[in-house]
Symmetry: none
Subunit: 196 residues, 4 copies
């Protein structure tokens, strides 16, 4: 067993286990013992690498947002034409509930805490602002390069994100509510109409 870099391994091990537990049984019913069991470590070790349970949970959230961000960067950023970039992003947004359903389950689990938990609120706020501002940038990019007209709607980025969030939540709660495939097309059309 390597001793060096063990810390990073253990932390990742615990965070991933906690994430899985939250998705499987909900934050509400999650004990430190559950996490330790899922991670294959003792409860004690969790307190060696994390301040306390809350610390673990906050890191799960941050990590989850970071991964989501990384994934967007990896799939959207390589694309160069600004128009395609936005289209790809919208596609991503639309695929998210299917491609990464865990993300929405996790998000829902934390959103409920946001209003009564300062730290959670802050992290979630930052995430939403980042997403909105990223969409703003994508649109601005298109406008700058004359691919889009000035977008015709005020607050379009917020609406795009809200649509993605709302549809994601709705589909997470009720898989039969709509067909994500067709919804994807509608979404592209709707938004496309506003920027060309």
């Amino acid at each position: 067993m390597p001793k060096l870099g063990m810390e990073a391994v253990r932390r990742e091990q615990v965070i991933e286990a906690a994430r899985k537990c939250i998705v499987d049984k909900g934050v509400a019913n999650l004990s430190v013992k559950d996490i330790a069991l899922a991670a294959g470590v003792s409860t004690g070790i969790i307190y060696h690498y994390f301040k306390n349970k809350e610390d673990v949970l906050l890191r799960v959230l941050r990590e989850s947002f970071r991964k989501s961000y990384d994934q967007v960067m990896a799939t959207v950023e390589p694309i160069k034409p600004p128009g395609d970039k936005l289209v790809k992003y919208i596609e991503n947004l639309n695929q998210a509930p299917q491609d990464n359903p865990d993300f929405f389950v996790l998000l829902l689990n934390y959103l409920g805490q946001a209003k009564s938990h300062e730290a959670v609120n802050e992290i979630v706020q930052d995430f939403i602002r980042n997403v909105v501002s990223y969409v703003e940038d994508l649109i601005a990019l298109g406008v700058a390069e004359d691919v889009f007209d000035q977008d015709k709607a005020d607050h379009l980025p917020e609406m795009i994100v809200a649509l993605g969030l709302g549809l994601g939540i709705m589909w997470t709660i009720d898989l039969d509510l709509f067909d994500p495939e067709r919804m994807g097309k509608n979404l592209s059309e709707l938004i496309g109409g506003y920027i060309t």
Copy 2:
């Protein structure tokens, strides 16, 4: 204090107290003692009128959805012209986070449980389906009376609801994200464009 015929009063008293507690401190940190204290009763009486804590929480959710429904009925249904009806409803949807911020905080608190709690999931699913189907009816009504063209977008009702939900959540988490007033106008335009 009368002792007879208090059942309805007590139940309402407890449910309202529980609702308030959830909004104030979150379901996660909510004890029966808290509810009893907020309701001004003993913990014992809660078990006299409700099966257990879960029973109370589920009733808070149902009651909250019922009130929300009643309010829509009271404000939207009196309006007769189908076009105005839909507009009014959209307005309602848009005002909701401001007019009734508690509703969204409450909703968020329960959404997190939905995936790991059968009963919650069912109630939330029903609610969403009802809302979507209500919007469908409003649009169909307009089309039938030749006020709207057939709506141009597939899944428009789902998108309208998703927008309302997404914006509501975003605004609940981050009051500074956008100005609801202006957002209201954008929303009306966006949707208006799709049904006339």
Copy 3:
């Protein structure tokens, strides 16, 4: 509704309900509410006619012993020949678990409390002593009237009662342990051999 004699009626109503509850679900799992429900009265009324729950339970025990005693008197005492009297009593003892299985279930429920509950202990002790002394009298009567020889065994009455008690308990716990019919005959022979 008659007002006079209501007290006796109510008391009997409650005691009988409590007895039934104990037999059905055990003293351990018996609440005052259960008793009230079974008796078709309110919990309050129980405290009007009895000092407290313990008072009810003690009266159930006494009443049960009294009835058992009355039944013996009614079936055994009318018989005049001392020999037949004892035979009849033994028969009674043997039939008890079948004829009145509730009695044994009840008895077992209280025997467990006897060692840690002064009042119960006293009542049970009195009952056992009475039963033993009744058998002593029956035998003495037979000897006095020259129907039996002096009984050949020391402590015969105690042994007879112990056999009845032991077999009753065993059969109550395990109906398949033996056939009470055949056991009855064996018992009569066994005891008969010792007093003639």
Copy 4:
């Protein structure tokens, strides 16, 4: 105090403490806190080693029956002559209330629950059947080796056990009811008469 390998010790510690509590104050009035206090541990640890209170109580019963069985094996089995074996066993049975009064108190505490508690009933049934069948074997052994005649009474083993049980209970409830010394002799004679 060592922390490792304490499982067996702690379990025994808790079971023994629970047994003591039951004997001292009765199952009816026994809280987990009492057990923890008597065992000198925290309440939490009890739930670490046992599923719940019921689990502890059932193990107390099983353990008690096991010890009783072990003791019989240790005292009766070394004896080889079948006749002496049975005599020794009867002696044991007779001495039990004196030698091990706790056993009867405990037994009484559980017998009351048997009828309304499936698991208790099963354990007690098994115990009684084992005891009866052990006596059957002892007699059969004697008959096989021509030490006893075929026993003259049908159901003799059941009667022997019932006598032991009945006398034990009676003497537990009322120490003054008879002299166990003399009772022992009577018992031996009585039974001896039936198998020689």
